[in-house]
C-alpha cells in the first residue's frame, strides 16, 4: 500500500479545539509540513498567542512558549537573540498583531529580527466572541459594532502587509488565503519560504493568511469561504508585497 498523505511529524496527536470550518488547523498543518520538509523540526521554537490559537502550544511538536496578547514578536526576539540557531516563529491573530501588538510587530520588522511571523487575519476577534478587529471590514457586523463598522466612528480596516512593506527591515511579506485547494497550496509555498528565509538569515518574514471564521461571522462554512473571496479579498488582495533575498 502506498501512503499518499499522512500527519506531519511536527504535529502532536492532541485533537485541535478549533471550530468546524476554521482556518487555523489548515495553517498549523502547513507549518508542520514545512518543518518536516525543511528538516528543522528539532530546532523550531514557537510562540503561541492569546486568542483562538492560545493552545497552539499543544498542537505543535516543537518546544513552545505561550505569551501575552500582542507580544509574540518581542518574545520571539528574546528567544532568537538568545538562541540564534533556533528557528523561531510567532503565530498571531489580527487583534493580537494589528491592534494590541502593533508596536511589537512594527519594531520586530524595523530591527529585521530574523524570525517568521504567521498572521491569521479573519477580520474578527474569535476567542472573545466576535468583537470588532482592526481588520474588520467596513459595514461588517461585530458584537462591538452592532450596526456594522462605520468609518466615521471606527475608522477603516488596516492592511498590515502593505503597511509593513514600507519598512526597510521587512524582507518578505506575502498575503495568502486558505479558502480553496489552490490557495492552500500557494499558502504552503509562502509559509515554507518564510521559514526557509529564516534558515538562510534573510530577516523579518511574515505571511498573512486570510482565514475564515464561520462561528463569529454567523455563517455556514460555504458562506464563510464565499465571504473570504467576495468581501475580504477586495480589501486584502493576495500577493507578494516584499521579497528580498539575503545578501
Amino acid at each position: 500500500m502506498t501512503i499518499l498523505a499522512k500527519k506531519p511529524q511536527s504535529l502532536t496527536d492532541i485533537p485541535m479545539h478549533y471550530c468546524p470550518g476554521c482556518g487555523h488547523g489548515i495553517v498549523h498543518r502547513l507549518m508542520a509540513e514545512a518543518f518536516d520538509e525543511l528538516k528543522i523540526a528539532d530546532r523550531v521554537i514557537g510562540v503561541a498567542p492569546v486568542g483562538c490559537a492560545v493552545f497552539a502550544d499543544d498542537y505543535f511538536a516543537c518546544d513552545m512558549v505561550q505569551g501575552a496578547h500582542g507580544r509574540g514578536p518581542a518574545i520571539a526576539t528574546g528567544i532568537k537573540r538568545s538562541k540564534p540557531q533556533a528557528v523561531v516563529f510567532s503565530y498571531q491573530g489580527d487583534g493580537d498583531l494589528a491592534s494590541i501588538g502593533m508596536a511589537e510587530i512594527v519594531h520586530a520588522a524595523v530591527r529585521s529580527e530574523n524570525i517568521t511571523v504567521i498572521f491569521i487575519n479573519n477580520a474578527i476577534y474569535g476567542m472573545t466572541g466576535g468583537q470588532m478587529a482592526p481588520t474588520t471590514l467596513v459595514g461588517q457586523v461585530a458584537t462591538t459594532a452592532p450596526k456594522g463598522r462605520d468609518p466615521k466612528l471606527q475608522g477603516w480596516p488596516i492592511n498590515m502587509c502593505e503597511m509593513l512593506s514600507q519598512i526597510t527591515g521587512a524582507k518578505y511579506l506575502e498575503r495568502v488565503a486558505v479558502d480553496t485547494p489552490q490557495h492552500v497550496m500557494a499558502a504552503k509555498k509562502a509559509i515554507k519560504k518564510a521559514f526557509e528565509n529564516q534558515v538562510k538569515g534573510v530577516g523579518f518574514s511574515m505571511v498573512e493568511v486570510l482565514s475564515q471564521c464561520p462561528t463569529n461571522w454567523h455563517a455556514s462554512v460555504d458562506q464563510a469561504l464565499e465571504f473570504v473571496r467576495t468581501q475580504m479579498m477586495p480589501q486584502y488582495p493576495l500577493g507578494v508585497f516584499k521579497n528580498e533575498e539575503a545578501k
Binding site: D57, D63, M64, Q66, A74, S82, K83, E104
Partner: protein, 387 residues
C-alpha cells in the same frame, strides 16, 4: 574578589550583572537608570550576549520572557513608571516560573513623578505588582558595592526557586559613585549547565518543553504548588542587617538609601546618649519578619523611616504585631531623609511628641476637603470633608 574601584551605582550594577552571567538585556530609556542600558549596549556583545533597545518597556520585559524561556540569564532595568509598564510581563514570568532579573531604580511618583530617588514602589515590588497571586523576590541594596554584587545573588535565587527576582534600588543609589569591589569571580554561563525546563534547539529525543502559565490542566494546583515554594522562600531566604539592636530604646527600620541616613542618625544618637538601633531588611520579600518580631520585644518603640507614604511600615506592623508601638517617619515623592530629621522623629517617639512623625489620620483632622462641580450648572453631589 576584585580590587576596590570607584564606580557609579548603575554602572556597577550593569558590570556586576555581566560578571554574574547575564547574557540577555532588553531595556528602554528612562531616567535615572539610563547608564544600565548604555553600559549593556557597550559591553554585552563582547561578553557573548545580546543587548536590545526595545520599542517600549512592555516589549523589553516580554523579550526577557522569551530569553529567560531559553534558560539564558536574562534581565531588564527601568525606573518606576517603566516598571509599571512591565507588570504584564512580570506576572507572565512569575506564572511560567521563569527566573530573571528585573531592576527598578526608583524615582518619585505617582504618575510621571520626579527623577529624584524615592521608595514609592515598595507595595508594587513586594505584593507582586501585576495580576494574580504571585510574588517576586526583592533585594534592596544600600550601597554601590551591593548594587554590583546583588545581580549574582539575584540570578542564583531566581534559578533556585524559579521565580523572577527584582533589585529595588533608587535614583540616588544609581547615580552616586562609591568605592566598591566585586566579591565573586566572573561566572561563565556556559559552565552553568542546561535548564531541564527550557525551550532549546536540540531536543535529542526528550519530550517537548512548554513555557506556559499552565503546567498541566489544573491552574489551582499550579498556584498552590507555587505558594508552597513561596513559603519555603519566606522560611529560608529572609536577609537583613542589624546595628546596635541588642540594647536600644528606639529601633529604626529602613531599607536602601534610607538606611544610610538612619546610620547617620544612629551615630548622632550615640553622641547625644540616646540608644538607637537599626534593622535593615535586605530582602523586602521575603520580609525578615521573624527577626524583627524578636527585636520588637526588646525595644520601647519602632520607627520606620521610608521614602514613601506608609508602605514599608505596613510590613513592619505585621511583623511587630502590636508588641511595641510602631511610628512612621516618611519622605514621599522624592524627599530625602537625613540624620537630623530622623533624630527629631526619634525624640518624638521617646517623649510623646508629634514632630517628625507621620500620622495620616491625625493630619486629616486639620484638613478641610471640598470638591465642587461648576456651581453655575447647579450640579448635585458636592462633597465636603474635614473639620
Amino acid at each position: 574578589m576584585t580590587e576596590k574601584t570607584l564606580r557609579k551605582g548603575n554602572e556597577a550594577l550593569a558590570e556586576g550583572a555581566i560578571r554574574a552571567g547575564a547574557r540577555f538585556f532588553a531595556g528602554y530609556p528612562i531616567t535615572p537608570q539610563n547608564e544600565v542600558p548604555e553600559y549593556m549596549s557597550a559591553y554585552m556583545a563582547d561578553a557573548g550576549g545580546a543587548f536590545v533597545q526595545a520599542e517600549s518597556e512592555v516589549a523589553a520585559i516580554n523579550m526577557v520572557y522569551g530569553a529567560a524561556a531559553t534558560g539564558t540569564r536574562s534581565m531588564t532595568s527601568s525606573s518606576s513608571p517603566g516598571i509599571s509598564l512591565k507588570q504584564e510581563g512580570i506576572t507572565y514570568l512569575a506564572s511560567a516560573d521563569l527566573p530573571c532579573l528585573i531592576v527598578n531604580v526608583m524615582r518619585g511618583g505617582p504618575g510621571l513623578g520626579s527623577i529624584s530617588g524615592a521608595q514609592g514602589d515598595y507595595f508594587q515590588a513586594t505584593r507582586g505588582g501585576g495580576n494574580g497571586d504571585y510574588r517576586v523576590l526583592v533585594l534592596a541594596p544600600n550601597s554601590v558595592e551591593e548594587l554590583g554584587n546583588f545581580p549574582k545573588l539575584g540570578f542564583e535565587l531566581a534559578e533556585k526557586y524559579r521565580i523572577p527576582c527584582m533589585i529595588l534600588a533608587d535614583g540616588i543609589l544609581g547615580q552616586m559613585m562609591e568605592s566598591m569591589s566585586f566579591n565573586f569571580d566572573p561566572v561563565d554561563p556556559n559552565q552553568l549547565g542546561k535548564m531541564q525546563w527550557a525551550v532549546d534547539i536540540e531536543k535529542n529525543g526528550r519530550p517537548k518543553n512548554k513555557v506556559f502559565s499552565y503546567k498541566g490542566d489544573n491552574l489551582i494546583a499550579d498556584v498552590v504548588e507555587r505558594a508552597k515554594r513561596y513559603g519555603l522562600i519566606e522560611k529560608t531566604e529572609a536577609r537583613y542587617e542589624e546595628r546596635n539592636t541588642e540594647d536600644c530604646d528606639v529601633l529604626l527600620v529602613a531599607y536602601g538609601l534610607s538606611s544610610r541616613a538612619c546610620l547617620e542618625a544612629v551615630n548622632k544618637a550615640q553622641e547625644e546618649g540616646l540608644k538607637v538601633g537599626l534593622f535593615r531588611p535586605i530582602t523586602l520579600w521575603p520580609f525578615p519578619s521573624k527577626r524583627l518580631a524578636e527585636l520588637a520585644q526588646k525595644t520601647k518603640a519602632i520607627l520606620t523611616v521610608e521614602q514613601s507614604l506608609g508602605q514599608l511600615v505596613q510590613d513592619v506592623k505585621l511583623a511587630v504585631n502590636g508588641k511595641t508601638p510602631v511610628y512612621l517617619n516618611a519622605y514621599p515623592a522624592g524627599g530625602q531623609p537625613d540624620g537630623e530629621s530622623i533624630l527629631t522623629a526619634v525624640r518624638s517617639c521617646l517623649n510623646g511628641g508629634k514632630e517628625g512623625l507621620f500620622d495620616l489620620q491625625a493630619h486629616a483632622a486639620d484638613f478641610a476637603y471640598e470638591c465642587k462641580r461648576d456651581a453655575s450648572l447647579g450640579m448635585q453631589g458636592d462633597c465636603k470633608g474635614g473639620k
